[in-house]
Amino acid sequence: MFPTDARSTVGGLAWPTRGGQPSSSLPAAVFVALAAAGGLWAQPVPSAELGVIRCSVSASEPLVRIEGTSELVGDIVLTCHNSEPSLGLEASGFVELEVALSLNVDMANRTAFGLGADVSDAVLVVNENNCAVPGAGRHFGGCPAGSETVQAPMPGRRESVAPKTVRWTQVALPIPGAAAGRHGTPVEPVADCRDRYGLAGGCHPTTTTLRLTNLRANAAQLGVSGAEISGSVAIEAALEVLAEDAAVVLEEHQVTVAHAAPGILAAAETADADRLCSHGETVAHLSVVEGFAAAFKEAGGATFHPGHPGWDEGYYPFSQAGRGQGFATSPTRLRIGLTGIPEGVEVTSPASVICSSPEGLHTLAFGFVAGTAADGSGGQAVSWRAGDRMLADGRTRSAVAVYEVSRAQSVLKEECRIPIRFARTDGGSGSGWAADVTVSTHLVPAGRAGPGDAGHRFAVHRRQVGQSFHLHGCGTRLLFPFVTNRSNFETAIVITNTSADPLGTRHQAGRCILRYQGAAAAGRQPPAPQTTLELEAGRQLAFTLTSGNPEQGVMPVTDFQGYLVTECDFQHAQGFAFVTEQINGAAVLAQGYLAEVLAETAAPAQSR
């Protein structure tokens, strides 16, 4: 029953009191005895000798993007204590050892930042003695805390022959609980370590920690196709510690340092494709879903000192005891690629996309990046006031948009519908063809980071099957399988524009091209194609082969037998044929049929 509103010190220990007096819940006699026995509380704690150093291994296991070629994985912490049997005094107070870390994928740490070609920015920190890395090797001093008794952070070295490995050599591991001297000075046993832990001339802490931090991995080597990955794949680390002059035992040799999962999923949603025919434009949406809560990152909060243990700090939402915000040195970018855009159609997307949510909260937003390189790097985010951006490349019938995250919530799995506007460049009544515009969406910049590259890069995953915007053709093709005006026969044709209906269909008007295919009279070519006058919604074009209908632009054909294909510039055309045999001007036989509506075939426009 120790009230905790105040404390006093007895025998060098915090001791609960109430109102500055010893707790009244303690019997007075006890307190008196306690005070009198202060000498017993002050028994000295001698420094330890070197024994067997046992280290347990733990790691944080964040989710990382499986597309990423340089994903920051979790820190690995070795917690070491000094156990029996004692091997005697070690005059340096340290054990020198080598730490080797291997992942099941390639390490992706930077190397070209001025400390040597093989020196990486993966860092080993002893006893949380955190500061900027002073150099490539082992250094004492220079760090703000404990600089004389604990070495400064040390960068690991990468090996070209072992890309999965990074190695720290000549690490000075403080012997837990042992006497601590200044570097290079032999130490003497310390009679009493109390209040002198971590100080020169005192003792090392009774536990030593080694933190391996700022580790980057090429997660993409685990597989990059979002369609094929279900769940997550572990990134494992194997550790080796080698000490020539001491027994250092790892209690675990393998830990999981991250779980890799797809960072982005996308689905194409075609909205009202008919609007492209009736209004000359339509808007489709690309639904982008964050693979997991922290996959999309906004910029901010990062430091840029190579090898600094806090490099990219705040990357994980919950690292640094909750101080992280899920930021990155550079915001996450996504590239939207469109191919197979029909001729006569332009594509635009907005300069900024503020993603809606059912609650009306807009926690995710993207900004368009102009002037990027082919891999999605570089460029500059345009102002949200800039208006829609033209995407289409008229030569290749393709389009590209690169967006970067301008706002994201790191603890919420978010989604966004990015509008893609298709507009006809010929005013909306031309003869567009149907097309499946293929869309691919992936994180960028693409490729593997170079030795000196900061930030994150991503492998390009395979296009998700079936991701396309379907655009309807703005026309109808009708097949009249048999038409003739030979041997006393005659064929009447009716083409009906049924875009006027009670079903909410938008009215469309257009011309029709009549293509006759078949046998003309001996020595003649089949009739040339004819183009009719415009046919309004709800109206019909009627003619016979022999007479045509000059008022609607249809000329007669003579002595023809074959089939007729009509290509109309409006949807929902229907056809009717009426074949009669006429003798002396009177029809004696008749038969009719409905024209077959040819299914539109969606294919890339350039192939037509």
Partner: protein, 569 residues
């Protein structure tokens, strides 16, 4: 204070003394030790947790501490430690207990000494009615970051040591039970997985003291994220139907993700509210109503089939006045009515409803079928289609510990997990591309409801309904004509037959004069066929004739007329 992991010794630790006689022994024993003397390890029994849960209750964590050497003969001071719990997801407990904004509802219990009103600060004994006065009272946790909790100043009886009050020995194993921790599991959920299972919820426990440590069991598995709710639409061929009222009915299947997914609030010591299920409808066509039942009895003989299956036990009750997040509101007045009769409020084609789970068996995976009816009061030809999403409720965007956010609470389901109802239509649209009664021709039209299909469970064809006939064309002078007529109801087994010239008075259709054009028939019946017969009737005797079957016009997902198309291989 430094962080030392899971094992502590007595060097430099505070002692709790109740008698002067014991004091000297205690101190002697304390300072005479070297190296670790008490080893602690943490463990848990992992359970399934709901992948969309923002404040999911995690299983208890038990830290067991034993003396590494033989139990001391002399009394020993309690170990004074700070316990730090770190999760790989944010802590989302209720906070603000005891007037302390950082005191959370997670509790640490020493040696089973529990009570209903733990201490907010710790360090109290016998203040809450806990059974062991010599062991500290249970203690609320304090937030130590978004993903961490700590309990400062925890007194742990030295395992196996004689008690300082001379009343026997401490148990050979001292236990620290951490209960009531809640976490935001959604952080670990994946979009790509078929089920949103992501990495497990894990924790590490550290004991802080000025002492050496050994660490055992540093990573503790607590929870395995599993979908708490699965939504599907029962296949149309099984139960979808056009209703007598001209609407369309389909069925949603709500399946509990695992046996206890809907049980929080009814089991153990949980004080959480009953589980709610939020249904959200989107893209409902304008003018179409959505009707839901006030109650859903999951024990449905129509679906609880199979010799090995036990009947479902849950009942879903509709909440009236529910907020968009699925919270608020009260029980619907029509509880017990399992027919879809409660009209959903729609705005811009979007509306939501919430059901509360009543009853249910904690060991039973419940499976509930919710009939949904689309109503078309206008009787117009429409395509019934909508998107529907389902999630546990209330939904929330409070992803951290909070003094006010509801418990439990959930993330909204992402749209990619929505399901589509339809498209379906209880109308048939026919076009007659060419009809005429000019130049001596006339056209006879026949519309025939199909008979009900043998073996079909759906009452599709053959039901009574009328047709609207829309004429588009021109008169004898070439002037445009647009005309609409509505027929009388075509009774089951009957046909609608008329000619353009004469109409059919019995069917409420008048003749049209000198018309040439096309005809669109919109019939309030899901299965009708049409036939046209053109004849040249000079002198009243037909000498030319032909006929054709009327093509049907189908409507797509957006209620738009579809275009025949195919995608090349």
């Amino acid at each position: 204070m430094r962080e030392w992991g899971l094992s502590v010794n007595l060097l430099g630790l505070k002692a709790r003394l109740v008698g002067a006689a014991a004091f000297a022994l205690l101190v002697q024993a304390a300072v005479g030790q070297s190296g670790p003397t008490v080893s602690c390890s943490a463990a848990s029994e992992p359970r399934a947790v709901r992948a969309t849960g923002i404040a999911e209750l995690l299983p208890d964590i038990v830290v067991r501490c034993v003396a590494e050497r033989i139990a001391p003969l002399a009394a020993r001071a309690d170990l004074q430690v700070e316990v730090l719990l770190s999760l790989n997801a944010s802590v989302t407990n209720r906070v603000g207990f005891g007037g302390d904004s950082r005191a959370s509802s997670a509790v640490l219990v020493v040696n089973g000494n529990d009570c209903a009103a733990p201490s907010a600060q710790g360090g109290t004994y016998g203040a809450c009615g806990a059974p062991l006065p010599h062991v500290q009272d249970p203690q609320y946790a304090r937030l130590a970051g978004r993903d961490a909790l700590n309990w400062p100043d925890v007194s742990v009886p030295f395992p196996g040591a004689p008690r300082a009050d001379g009343q026997g020995r401490n148990p050979p194993v001292s236990t620290l039970r951490i209960r009531g921790v809640r976490a935001n599991v959604t952080q670990l959920a994946l979009s790509a997985a078929a089920s949103p299972a992501g990495p497990d919820v894990t924790a590490s426990v550290a004991l802080r003291a000025t002492s050496p440590v050994t660490s055992k069991g540093s990573r503790i598995l607590l929870g395995r994220p599993v979908a708490g709710l699965d939504l599907s639409v029962v296949a149309d061929s099984e139960d979808a139907a056009c209703t007598e009222r001209g609407g369309y009915r389909s069925t949603l299947r709500l399946r509990e993700g695992f046996a206890s997914a809907w049980s929080e609030g009814r089991i153990g010591s949980s004080r959480a509210a009953a589980t709610r299920i939020l249904l959200e409808f989107r893209e409902v066509p304008e003018g179409i109503g959505v009707l839901l039942p006030a109650s859903v009895d999951c024990r449905d003989p129509g679906f609880d089939t199979g010799p090995a299956s036990s009947p479902d036990a849950a009942v879903l009750g509709l909440i009236s006045g529910v907020l968009p997040d699925g919270g608020g509101g009260s029980s619907s007045s029509g509880r017990g009515d399992t027919t879809p009769s409660v009209r959903l409020a729609l705005s811009g084609g979007t509306g939501w409803a919430a059901y509360e789970v009543d009853g249910g068996a904690p060991l039973q995976v419940e499976d509930c079928h919710v009939p949904v009816e689309f109503a078309d009061p206008s009787g117009q030809a429409r395509s019934f289609s909508a998107k529907v999403g389902a999630g546990l409720a209330p939904s929330s965007r409070v992803f951290v510990a909070s003094e006010w956010a509801p418990t439990p609470r959930f993330a909204r389901p992402i749209s990619s997990r929505e399901r589509t109802l339809g498209p379906a239509s209880c109308n048939t649209n026919l076009t007659f591309p060419f009809v005429t009664n000019q130049a001596g021709f006339t056209t006879g039209v026949v519309i025939t409801p199909e008979p009900e299909r043998a073996g079909s469970q759906a009452a599709t064809g053959g039901r009574p309904g009328s047709c609207s006939l829309h004429y588009y064309g021109s008169d004898a002078d070439g002037q445009p004509v647009v005309l609409v007529q509505k027929s009388a109801v075509i009774e089951t087994g009957e046909q609608l037959v008329f000619t353009l010239s004469a109409g059919n008075q019995a069917s409420n259709l008048a003749g049209v004069s000198q018309f040439r054009g096309y005809l669109v028939a919109v019939c309030a019946n899901p299965q009708v066929s049409g036939y046209a017969f053109l004849s040249d009737g000079f002198g009243g005797i037909a000498d030319l004739a032909m006929g054709y079957l009327a093509p049907e016009v189908s409507l797509g997902r957006f209620g738009k007329r579809q275009v025949p198309s195919h995608v090349p291989d």
